[in-house]
Symmetry: C2
Subunit: 233 residues, 2 copies
């Protein structure tokens, strides 16, 4: 019915502007996560405080992009692929904001347990963190190009992240059993590890939205195999 | 521009039908959570398995309501309050689905640690669970009536849930320090407690969507005080 209306140059410009904002928000979230993890590793309280201070920027971006999406729906009445783009964006920014929350949580751990707990326990979250940040970076890249194959590839990396997470938890658990007096501090590191593992799940969600936009099919709650089948079509 | 279009009886019927589906989904999620917790308390593996088996019903409802919302936007081009309702629903079902995930996680803990771990540790998650289920029940009720005052009241209850959670964590931590050999099992109960605490945050999100729908203002990332101010207007 309204098909073709989106040929309007103004509408296209508005959609492009929203997409650019999502990528800016993604970049900020990536930076927040990266700074938070750096603060935890290097015991850098100032950097951790900066992450906490900047959280509101991520939140404000979420609210502003959400508002722009609602306005574009009301004003432009997008259908088909345009509407799917707006829907994909609305969901993507929710996950990005939650990754921003993870960064803040880790920053608080860095502030509250100032004697570089990780080193103290001889356990490093670094490989886990590196993987999570890499997944986030790649999914933002896939989003920028709306590349389903790249999205499917990121999706599959979550298994590796989960395995790394399990290994970290096992190490921390053994450390706890040998050093029960350190349990409160170890638990803080454990919560951080779990939060980082959840970043992978959030990245998987964003992969699903990219596939939904491009393929027009909601692949949430499907398995990897079904997603592969769909992408072959 | 399109104002008044929603006077169409058919459109109203469609919106009503979607709202009813959200409430059905909410009811199912509440039941899943309640069964999962019961399974954990009473060491009822069959009930826990039922929760795991029924997870797909919650997921299917999320996908189907989401799809109905997208179709209503494309077909009816809602604006103003109608559009806000659709947006509030899209976000609400995401949080409901995540509460459904919590139920499944707790059910898995009940299956994997079959010797009623809670009793064993002489620590009960029951008050925490009761509060979380009560918040969920009340927020669904507020959603059904789109009652902002009820939503604001649920919003405030999260502080109590957090305090109860902190108390449980402290007890479990002390137990761990005294009985390091039980750390793996205690951690399972700790993860469950944390998942239940997150249910409160999800309920707060739904409160925010109710306020957004009724008041037309996005109150995410505002504090309780600002929300109170807004509701006084």
């Amino acid at each position: 019915m309204h098909f073709g209306r989106h040929i309007s140059g103004q509408f296209n410009a508005e959609l492009e502007s929203i997409r650019t904002h999502v990528l800016t928000m993604g970049g900020l979230v990536e930076q927040q996560l990266s700074f938070a993890i750096q603060a935890l590793h290097k015991d850098d309280i100032d950097l951790a405080r900066k992450v906490v201070r900047d959280e509101h920027k991520v939140n404000a971006m979420e609210v502003s992009i959400d508002d722009a999406c609602t306005r574009i729906i009301a004003k432009r009445q997008p259908t088909a692929k345009d509407l799917r783009l707006v829907m994909a964006i609305i969901k993507t920014i929710t996950d990005l904001e939650r990754i921003g929350d993870v960064a803040t949580k880790i920053a608080y751990v860095a502030i509250e347990t100032p004697t570089n707990s990780e080193k103290q326990f001889q356990i490093s979250l670094e490989p886990l963190c590196r993987q999570a940040i890499s997944m986030l970076h790649q999914v933002l890249d896939a989003f920028a190009r709306m590349d389903v194959d790249a999205a499917a590839s990121v999706y599959k990396q979550d298994d590796k992240l989960d395995a790394e997470y399990e290994a970290v938890i096992r190490q921390l658990m053994n450390y706890m059993m040998d050093n029960p007096e350190n349990i409160p501090d170890v638990l803080q590191v454990m919560w951080s590890a779990r939060a980082i593992e959840r970043v992978g799940d959030r990245c998987q969600n964003i992969c699903e939205y990219i596939i939904y936009f491009v393929k027009g099919k909601d692949v949430r709650h499907l398995g990897e195999k079904d997603i592969d089948e769909l992408l072959k079509e």
